[in-house]
């Protein structure tokens, strides 16, 4: 009878997102009894995670943590750090063998120290069977040399944010779907004094994402699948020329922008097209309904290569090999990824995050507002950090060192010519990939 109740509760919760409602604890208890991972008795887990962007996401997450603690008896401590501080702290923990049991961070940080990550194949495969397949980019972030070392929890879609009226005034009824049309739009916007602007400074999220899109959309890559350096290529040269042409239409100052600069400029009404997550829209709905009404989001245009070449932010979670409670870590990760927990949490994130697997139950967040819809595509359309190459500590280092962003910025600002910019990027890549 108990078993029957538990199973029906689990099935019902998964189908309806019941866990979001009142009986999250009941669901959690039932889940804990069914779980393949039994937490070690008396386990204490500490989790370091990226600092929330949307308060309701954090609240939903903490409800989930609380239910897990009550159902399993595992005490959980959750601390937050800003995006830029997660990786150094995770690295130091890996280096010293002390610190949080789990870290939930950005991009490819687990690939910086794959040997220190608890193998996650069992969790990944179990989740894959339920909701898979994993999107290729999610798999690339979770695996190093074919072994699962982390679980890609979600993607954060960064897409063109534009003002509808400005786009129409520039002569476009719909947002362009190819790079040539995109350039024309930017030129039209500049002509009307409603400029576009994309970060060319050391902006970890925004800068890396649009510069890699521009490079990949023209067929240029830093390294190939065997980590051979191929940045110095005619395709890269074309991408450089393209970005230079775009840069000439930008609002002044994008070379000094960090991740928050475009948000401020867009919300103040000085910027009419930029790349960002859904946070500008969320803020506009709260503080500036006029802008919210007049703005929309679009998929990244397709370049000469003829397929999506987006670079979206991934949020993988890892557990360290030094943890005293590996089963508790795995149980928690499996618990948070269970659709009954995951979907209400994702909904609370208000479109900021999207699924890493194809067959999660459809989340209402993507349909409740048509302007949210493009963000659901991030996981499916994104390439992983390496482009053609597997995600390793070297691809992570190239990102952290802004090799591609600096290449574009140095050409756009006239510091280097095309050949010089490519040569400098090639040299930086040789340094980073030297023992590949």
């Amino acid at each position: 009878m108990t078993v029957l109740d538990r199973r029906s509760l689990l099935a019902g919760a998964a189908a309806t997102g019941l866990a979001a409602g009142g009986d999250l604890l009941g669901f959690a208890r039932a889940w804990a009894q069914e779980s393949a991972w039994k937490p070690e008795p008396g386990a204490n887990l500490s989790l370091l995670r990226w600092k929330r962007f949307v308060p309701s996401e954090d609240e939903a997450f903490m409800r989930l943590v609380d239910a897990f603690s009550k159902a399993t008896g595992v005490k959980m401590t959750v601390t937050n750090e800003s995006f830029d501080d997660i990786q150094p702290k995770a690295s130091v923990a890996a280096n010293t063998g002390q610190g949080p049991d789990m870290v939930w961070g950005l991009y490819s940080f687990p690939a910086l120290f794959p040997d220190k990550c608890l193998p996650m194949a069992d969790v990944a495969e179990s989740l894959g069977k339920k909701y898979g397949p994993w999107y290729p980019s999610a798999e690339a972030y979770g695996k190093v040399k074919g072994k699962w070392i982390a679980i890609p929890v979600a993607f954060n879609g960064g897409y063109p944010n534009y003002r509808i009226s400005a786009m129409k005034k520039a002569g476009f009824d719909k947002f362009p779907t190819d790079t040539a049309g995109f350039l024309e739009l930017c030129r039209g916007l500049k002509k009307n004094n409603t400029p576009a602007g994309f970060a060319l400074g050391h902006a970890t999220g925004d800068g890396n994402s649009w510069c890699h899109w521009a490079l990949w959309s023209h067929g240029g890559y830093l390294v190939d699948a065997n980590e051979k350096i191929i940045i110095n290529s005619p395709e890269t040269a074309k991408a450089l020329e393209y970005v230079k042409a775009l840069y000439e239409t930008f609002i002044p100052g994008t070379v000094s922008w960090n991740d928050s600069s475009n948000n401020k400029a867009f919300l103040s009404g000085e910027l009419y097209l930029t790349n960002n997550g859904i946070s500008i829209y969320a803020a506009a709905k709260r503080e500036n309904p006029k802008i919210a009404e007049d703005m929309d989001h679009a998929l990244w245009p397709i370049g000469p290569v003829g397929k999506p070449t987006e670079f979206q932010l991934a949020f993988p979670i890892l557990a360290y090999t030094y943890t005293k409670a590996p089963n508790a870590c795995k149980a928690f990760i499996a618990f948070m990824m269970d659709a009954a927990n995951y979907n209400p949490w994702l909904e609370a994130a208000q479109g900021y995050l999207c699924e890493p697997m194809k067959n999660y139950p459809k989340n209402p967040v993507w349909t409740m507002d048509p302007k949210n819809a493009v963000f659901a595509e991030a996981g499916a359309r994104s390439l992983a950090a390496g482009g053609l190459a597997p995600v390793t500590e070297k691809t992570a280092a190239a990102l952290a060192d802004f090799v591609v962003v600096d290449m574009f910025a140095s050409y756009c600002t006239g510091r280097d010519d095309v050949k010089g910019a490519m040569r400098n990027a090639e040299r930086a890549a040789q340094r980073i990939f030297r023992n590949a």
Binding site: P88, S91, L112, G201, S256, S261, E393, A400, N424, A428
Partner: protein, 318 residues
Amino acid sequence: MADAALTHDRPAPASGRTAWERLRATRGWAGFWFMLPTALILGLFLAYPLLKGIWLSFTNAKIGRAGVFIGLENYEWLWDDDVFWLSVFNTCLYTAIASVVKFGVGLYLALLLNKHIPFKSLVRSIVLIPFVVPTVLSAIAFWWIFDSQFSIISWSLRHLGIIDGNIDFLGRPDMARACVIFANIWRGVPFIAITLLAGLQTVSPSLYEAATIDGASPWQIFYKITLPLLTPIIAVVMTFSVLFTFTDFQLIWAMTRGGPVNATHLMATLSYQRGILSGSLGEGAAIATAMVPFLLAAIGISWFGLQRRAWQSGGDDR
């Protein structure tokens, strides 16, 4: 009992004691014992990290992995690395301009504050404010002041009709360098001013009185009395100032992250970016170690150059 006490105090013949007992009791070793705690602290917190950093620079250590000895490979890569040399140039430029201006303004401010002015103590306290404000806070304030879209300077000049568009303070290499140097100067002047003021107050007023009676001009008084007597403290304060400026990190990181296009990357910020953010500890350590010769040279110049005893005593330097 008294006999026993006397016997205890009297040193026993050396031949009858162990080496350990001699070490414990010998007066010459007392200094050693007193210095030992300090030596241990310095060794643990200064020498060990420094030596460890130098060792790391000869390895391919990554964060999370110890790495193996690779000789000078990290330095060889740095030798051909334009960004590294740009950071060396930036660091030297930043240190040289900021230190000279901070010294000039700091000395001038100290001389002013040394005069009898109304609300002297209050004014002296106010001068210290930039130094007291946490660096990151002042850096963020400057970041707003120099923002490409929301700069108060651009806004004011636009509203006064002097300029049409915003000034791209942090987006143009030379302008960005000037901005971060300005912020460093703003922050560093009070330290120099207050320290030099302390030095000025140790100069005996009778020397000034005697010079005035002898008909010395204000410039002669400054050059022949104030400056020589202030030199030892200038040596100390400038050594610290150069060290702090050369190793500056927070201001740059909060304002520009080394941008635009690495134009404001200092050796310290590049070392952090490569060593911690990119995870290449060995390479980051090599950049940090490469700072040591520059620092030693800077200390040498300000220390030996300003410790000219003959000049301080009114004689000529040779």
